[in-house]
Subunit: 213 residues, 2 copies
């Protein structure tokens, strides 16, 4: 009757491990293949432990969804705040969203798996909405600061319209660039993104895309 020896981990640590394992399984085998047993094996524990940390498998999936979305927006925002001017911050934000690690087949696969569950489970819809709005707001803030810096007057409504358009463009390029990654060279996508955004905002060519000003 030799039981497995094991290590007692802290709650935060263990939860994180389980969520990471969940994402690994979804990315590798799809949401169908992310079974309690597979996830537990990946995390190096036995299946029963999952129910000790999450009241159901579904709750664990929701936590995993939050993790994916947080990772994506945080990466972009982290890149943005490094910029010194509003122009640079906007530029960095856009580029980060069409550059690894955000453009990553695994990330896309995870994102899509959860998106397809929005219709089925309202809890996922709420998580999506939360993240969508916060992303849109971040973009709107960057845009508005940029226009102030450029001394260009812009109504809030106009700014919002721009934010929606830029958001769509960035999302779309992210999709294209990740799904057809082999079609685009590394920075080709980023260049296209900057040129497209500056056109969208009716800026002068180079006003946003040029390396230095």
């Amino acid at each position: 009757m030799n039981r497995r020896t094991y290590h007692r981990a802290s709650e935060a640590e263990r939860r994180e491990d389980l969520i990471a394992a969940t994402l690994d399984c979804i990315a590798e085998f799809g949401i169908q293949g992310a079974t309690v047993r597979q996830i537990a094996m990946r995390a190096g524990v036995t299946g029963g432990l999952i129910r000790h940390y999450f009241s159901s498998k579904d709750q664990m999936l929701q936590a995993a969804y939050r993790k994916v979305m947080a990772g994506m927006t945080e990466a972009a925002i982290a890149a943005a705040i490094e910029g010194e001017t509003a122009r640079s911050r906007l530029r960095r934000f856009i580029v980060a969203n069409v550059t690894p690690p955000v453009t990553d087949p695994r990330t896309l696969s995870l994102w899509a798996a959860f998106i397809s569950h929005i219709q089925i489970d309202q809890s996922f819809a709420a998580i999506h909405r939360e993240n969508y709005l916060s992303f849109l707001e971040a973009l709107e803030t960057l845009l508005s600061a940029f226009f102030v810096e450029e001394k260009r007057a812009l109504s809030p409504a106009q700014c919002r319209t721009y934010a929606i358009g830029v958001n769509a463009l960035v999302d779309g390029l992210w999709l294209e660039g990740t799904l057809a990654a082999d079609t685009f060279a590394e920075h080709e996508l980023a260049e296209n993104a900057l040129i497209s955004v500056e056109a969208l905002l009716r800026l002068q060519p180079g006003e946003l895309s040029a390396e230095q000003r």
Copy 2:
């Protein structure tokens, strides 16, 4: 021992029914809920029949994926060819892609479910690639004809870059508009799409978006 009475259908008819039932199940219960038994029940047959028409459940899923994608592109192309000028055809194509039935939560849910399987199963990747390229080509053709009509010289490379950008924008607006449908009024999205595309192509305001010219 009363067996169910049944109707012998033609192969094409039966396959179509089964695929439609498959999509219904995926949309309603997710890809996890699209089980052989559920699908069969939805189609009004028994489970065994599926294996009579498809060598495996996976093959049926692939056929279903093709169906979804074909439906989306066909709807947009059908709208486009009704236009009398190149401008009108481009305009119609764009609007169709951000208007029902293309912008439909069910369609999005199906699309996302399959996208998330691209990484897992190469067969799905091939189907995606096929459709992406054909969509991009259709868009490129429309754009190129439009620029000819406008007597604006454009290198093929420039045209391709535009096609990639417009494709991204349309995809992104489709995503946003469907996922946050309640945020946008019916034609708000279409208007935004036209205005954004005309900015992207560096056209004069109204050159594409205005109702009449």
